[in-house]
């Protein structure tokens, strides 16, 4: 008969631990580095939006001064979009449920599952809040300024092609990463909650 207590004791005694001393300072340093990286990413997103928005706002102002109302409308639309994108990203990150690692595993997995599905959905819907408004604004501005010339049609086609490609790539990432992870978590939740047979 196997002595489980003995196995347990052997297990606890047997592991040769890493001799590397655990430095609190190094953990704190890593934490600080990662937080700085996140702040920089957020700052960069906002900065790009804040740089683009005034450019289109000024373009809209100039168009209004020349009584070119249609180009002004599209330029204003692009300025608003440039401000909306960083705000949208900021809001979504804050609305994303955080899986708190100090919670019991089952709660943690459920929160992770919800977060994973939300992230997948955000990527799948990128075309709605990012690509489509950008394409409408840029193509609209091009046609309203240049008229229906061949170059404008080529530009519009290239722009649309690029947007479709980006949308498909994001959809692919959502389905091959986030939704796959969500399924894995769902499987783990199932393993954890299924009624064990005695």
């Amino acid at each position: 008969m196997m002595d489980w207590n003995q196995i347990r004791q052997q297990w606890q005694d047997g592991e040769a631990c890493s001799p590397t001393p655990v430095s609190v300072a190094s953990v704190q340093r890593r934490d600080k580095e990662l937080r700085t990286q996140v702040r920089h990413r957020d700052w960069l997103e906002s900065a790009v939006g804040l740089l683009i928005a005034p450019f289109f706002a000024v373009a809209a102002g100039i168009a209004v001064a020349h009584d070119a109302w249609l180009p002004a409308l599209f330029a204003a639309f692009l300025a608003a979009w440039a401000l909306y994108v960083p705000w949208h990203l900021w809001r979504n990150r804050r609305l994303l449920p955080q899986a708190e690692p100090g919670r019991p595993l089952l709660d943690y997995l459920r929160a992770s599952h919800t977060a994973m599905l939300l992230q997948a959905r955000q990527l799948e819907q990128l075309w709605r809040w990012y690509l489509a408004p950008c394409a409408i604004g840029v193509i609209g501005l091009t046609f309203s300024v240049r008229g229906p010339v061949t170059g404008a049609f080529f530009y519009a086609a290239a722009m649309l092609g690029f947007c479709v490609l980006v949308a498909l790539l994001n959809k692919h990432v959502a389905q091959t990463q986030f939704r796959v992870h969500a399924q894995q978590i769902e499987q783990q939740i199932f393993e954890l909650t299924k009624e064990p047979s005695a």
């Binding site: 347990r8 297990w11 592991e15």
Partner: protein, 166 residues
């Protein structure tokens, strides 16, 4: 920064240092069983980081050891989902008995653990760390009864495999 804040930070540092020191061996074991041999130190670092970040939210409603295992296990399972961390490998230990040498219990246990899914592995690892059923239940978010049934089943399966290899 005021003296009061500095004292608080220092106390938190000491508390964290003690926590890591007390649980170092268990965290290493957990990290090794949820990552590849080349990757377990990354996972260990990630566990330390998550413990540090979560320390302020520890409300004392569960035992400190239970909380440490929760954070470590949750981090380990998330780590496995990251790209390039999908596999875990215990091959060097698991294959010790293949050369005609009688296999010992611990080697067989490693092999048995490697074949389990991450959830079942967690149940067995927590038990091997000497946790009571109620504590394991608290880590996993299950009832003590559900843990007991799983443990019995796992031990029986291991015993059967051991007898088969003996």
């Amino acid at each position: 920064m005021s003296n009061k804040n500095q004292r608080h930070d220092r106390a938190q540092d000491v508390e964290f240092e003690t926590l890591l020191g007390n649980n170092h061996a268990a965290l290493v074991r957990l990290a090794r069983h949820y990552s590849s041999p080349a990757d377990w130190q990354d996972l260990l670092q990630e566990m330390h980081l998550q413990l540090w970040r979560s320390l302020a939210s520890f409300d004392g409603r569960s035992a400190r050891a239970t909380w440490v295992y929760r954070v470590a296990l949750n981090t380990a399972l998330s780590h496995r989902r990251k790209p390039n961390h999908q596999h875990q490998s215990l091959e060097p230990l698991a294959e010790r008995g293949d050369a005609g040498v009688p296999i010992d219990e611990l080697s067989l246990l490693e092999k048995f653990l490697a074949a389990l899914d991450p959830i079942q592995r967690a149940v067995l690892l927590l038990d091997l760390e000497g946790m009571e059923r109620e504590q394991i239940a608290d880590v996993l978010g299950l009832s003590a009864n559900a843990v007991a049934i799983r443990m019995t089943r796992l031990r029986k399966a291991f015993e059967a495999q051991f007898l088969e290899n003996a």
